[in-house]
Amino acid sequence: MTTAVATEYEVVVGLEVHVQLKTQSKMFCGCAADYFDVEPNTRVCPVCLGMPGMLPVINRAAVEYTVLTGLALGCAIPQHSKFDRKNYPYPDLMKGYQISQYDQPLCVGGGLEIEVDGVPHYVRLERIHLEEDTARLLHREDAHGEGYSLLDVNRSGVPLMEIVSRPDIRSAAQAGAFLRKLRQTLRYLEVSDADMEKGSFRCDANVSIRPRGSETLGAKVEVKNMNSFRAVMRAIESEVERQTEVLTSGGVVVQETRGYIDATGTTVSQRSKEEAHDYRYFPEPDLPPLDITPAEVEELQRRLPELPDARKQRFEAEFGLTPSEAALLTETRAEADSYEEAVALACPHGVDKGRARAVAHWFIGDVARLRHQEGGEVELSATPLTSAHIAELVTLVEGGTITLTTAKEVLEIAFESGSRPSAIVEERGLAQVRDEGEIDRIAREVIEANPKPVADYAAGKAAALQFLVGQVMRQTRGRADANSVADVLRRHLDAG
């Protein structure tokens, strides 16, 4: 079946992503927007409760966050925008309508460059619009097994940005790459936590298939209820498989809404096209039209941070990193910031690519390892270790004060204690042994104590020298430079 998919049908997927904006207050009232881990129904007011006579007031920060996102994704920002009412009855919708945007969204067009297995692919966007989140329904059962529902209004009115892609996605893998790239961008912009598990990032997928080479779109099935990127990909795969089976067995794919069941990895029908709501959109009369002047757009353009792709390319050029190193270091804005800060501190006289790469290797290697030991992705800022520590470590190694081996030990101590590497080296006497006499004495002791390897060396076995170097290093607890130790040993041995 999978091969049939690959050869006969083309997968066509469009994604609708809802992103909660992390503004201070809600979309249309002054209530705090952050409701995670908050007592239910404590962040509410007459406006977000939908009491009679209450009126919305636009949260300008949410508009700015949306335009900022649009600019980052290459959208056009029309000068005129407006809010509309989307009418549908549901107990989690306090006013009986949702304030959303219908035909004049804040952002139009744009797209996202993704990459799957090294193959780049551009996914165009349809639009980005701003709306308000609904309250949350919690379904419970009483002691007699009777179902009932609880309502938490804290989420009602939280700013929600909807990003709609065009049907440009051709595989589950591309959908995953799109979502990862989108999340990364949103986090760079610091407009959202974009956390699917917390519900601040939600995704519905419009899935259809068509005979390869066909230009017309097949019947679209909207798949909902996915709560992880993995679930989105599995849902698309399973839906493609289902549609393929329907078509190959001579059936017709019906336009409908289907829900993804995580336990089975399959989708089930929820609502047919005929049962779809007529939302009866009309312009929100309680809000004046929204005008975004070119000056405001320009101002927001200036506020845009350097985005992941640009930063990655700059890291490659400026610091001599490989594409994969640069990708790792630009994964999050915080990581890239920490890295750049460390490079600046390690290179006080201007960027030295050697040092910049050395800093990179620490970040990608030992520092990453230590952070992962802490149980998952711990941000550097959440550990006692700082960019300054890493810069100092590199400076100590490059200046020959400590060896690479010592540096790894110092890093672990700094990671635990937060002490400065130079202080650790001094306190513990970890500085490199540079005293020629000291090394000479230890070398002679080692030669005396190891007649067999000495004889092997004399017999032309070069490997024996490595053993003797190792012995000297052990005695100095790694504080000597291996190359100079080898020189000293060779001098004694060759002299006989």
Partner: protein, 503 residues
């Protein structure tokens, strides 16, 4: 209330306009508490025959009056401190029942005041009660109230007009000098006309709608009723202006309305749009309005009797698309889940919601929700709502053009005098037609005012003044001047003229 009851002197003060009552309070002739007791005694006594109130606020009114007395004593009283006021029961009053005259909101007590009520509280006004209206302000006779039948004080067998009928009737009957109404298609001006008092619908965006139970958001405004222009100006002064809680209020400064009175109407350019003298208009109404226009002319106004407002004939259909469409969304929140009436004996949540709405709303409200839902439905939006909005733009342009070379327009307020109770309740269209002269002003958003200008068959007739956006000052100045040339506004209803002591 004291066992002896308020004296005749106090009732005599209650019969004065608010600005004169305020002067007596400041002079110490009587206390705000005495005035409040008199007002309460009278509105209670009248209500058996008048039916103007849904909820009385005796306790709160007396507490407010005591506070007002403290302010009067300390010298920081404003022009409305201690003045009894009636509040249309569409305006949220913190802790006090607010029903919109609908069973749907039975028992509903808002947790905050609407902005307008908050401002009046701040000004030291005394709220005697919540006045009756057509359910959710949908009507022109106050007959569509779930709780009370309001009668016209000039003839108790007739309607007071609507939807702010309770507010108009209580002012006309002398219970309070001032009251608040809302006007979505004529709901202040038409009852003012039918009850023989003054009423003003401000420019859209002049007064905050925050906390006013919404019917048609793009059309409605809160406005004052009073017995003379100065009182209307005072009350508008207190409620007008930008409100950060209402994004549709305009950042236009509020002038001192009474300061403008001195300018008079000499040289005022007055336009009379023929299109408002509609077919079916009663001859007595036409005559009274013509006479009023002649008064303006005799007193120095320059009258142009040939003003064209051709799109006005489209105002009624436009209104009955836009208002119900907005209402269909505004009234969606009443589902029995959160507050107000809730039906519980159904098998499922959805059925309970349906039963709640089916039983909670009256027929006129349901009719408009259905019209609006239909007009917004997929496939009909362009033909109805969108087209209505386009025609709305044309109507607005017509008003702009007509007012580009006239300072104000004069028209009848309503085509008829007060009609008999029940006369139009079975014929919605006949009822709608009573708003023919007032609806266009809401569609355009301009300010409009009704002023008593005579009688026909012994019943009051109203003259409508229409001005440029945010030029309420011109309307008030003209109304004030007209009140110095005529005494129609001083006539009190005969039916209640004898109740000087309020009983």
């Amino acid at each position: 209330m004291s066992s002896s009851g308020p004296s005749a002197d106090v009732f005599a003060v209650l019969d004065l306009p608010a600005h004169e009552q305020a002067a007596r309070l400041r002079a110490g002739d009587l206390t705000a508490r005495q005035l409040a007791e008199a007002a309460l005694a009278r509105v209670h006594a009248q209500d058996a025959s008048l039916g103007a109130y849904i909820t009385f606020m005796d306790e709160e009114a007396l507490a407010q009056a005591d506070e007002a007395d403290a302010r009067l004593r300390s010298g920081n009283a404003g022009p409305l401190t201690g003045i009894p006021i009636g509040v249309k029961d569409l305006l949220s009053t913190k802790g006090t029942l607010t029903t919109a005259a609908s069973r749907m909101l039975e028992g509903f007590r808002p947790i905050i005041d609407c902005t307008v009520v908050a401002r009046l509280r701040e000004a030291g006004a005394v709220f005697v009660g919540k006045t009756n209206l057509d359910e959710f302000a949908m009507g022109s006779s106050t007959e569509h109230s779930a709780f009370a039948q309001t009668h016209n004080p000039w003839d108790l067998a007739r309607v007071p007009g609507g939807s702010s009928g309770g507010s108009a009737a209580t002012v006309a009957a002398g219970g309070v000098p001032l009251s608040l109404g809302t006007d979505t298609g004529g709901s202040i001006r038409q009852p003012a006309a039918l009850c023989g008092i003054l009423g003003l619908k401000p420019t859209y965006g002049r007064v905050s709608r925050f906390g006013v139970i919404a019917f048609a958001s793009s059309l409605e405004q809160v406005g004052p009723f009073g017995r003379d222009a100065e009182d209307v100006a005072l009350l508008l002064q207190a409620i007008a202006g930008l409100d950060p809680n209402d994004a549709t209020t305009a950042p236009v400064p509020v002038p001192d309305y009474r300061e403008e009175f001195a300018r008079g109407i000499e040289g005022l350019r007055v336009g009379v749009p023929r299109d408002f003298f509609v077919e079916g208009m009663e001859d007595g109404v036409r005559q009274a309005v013509e006479d009023a226009i002649a008064v303006f002319e005799r007193n120095g106004a320059v009258v142009d009797r040939d003003v064209a407002l051709p799109t006005v004939s489209a105002a009624l259909p436009v209104y009955y698309i836009i208002a119900p469409s907005e209402a269909s969304a505004n009234l969606a929140r009443y589902d029995g889940v959160k507050y107000g009436f809730s039906y519980h004996d159904a098998a499922s949540m959805w059925e309970e919601m349906e039963q709640t709405r089916g039983r909670g709303f009256g027929d006129e409200v349901k009719r408009r929700i259905m019209i609006g839902t239909y007009a917004l439905s997929a496939g009909y939006y362009d033909a109805y709502y969108l087209k209505a909005q386009k025609v709305r733009t044309l109507i607005r342009r017509d008003f702009d053009a007509a007012l580009s070379n006239h300072d104000l327009l004069l028209t009848p307020t309503a085509p008829t005098v007060a009609f008999r109770l029940g006369a139009k309740t079975d014929d919605p269209l006949a009822m709608y037609l009573n708003d023919l002269c007032t609806l266009p002003v809401n569609i355009a958003g301009n300010p409009g005012m009704s002023v008593p200008c005579g009688f026909s068959e012994g019943l009051p007739v109203g003259l409508q003044l229409i001005g440029r956006p945010f030029e309420e000052a011109t309307l008030l100045r003209a109304a004030h001047a007209y009140g110095t040339f005529t005494d129609w506004h001083l006539r009190r209803p005969p039916a209640l003229a004898s109740d000087g002591a309020g009983a």
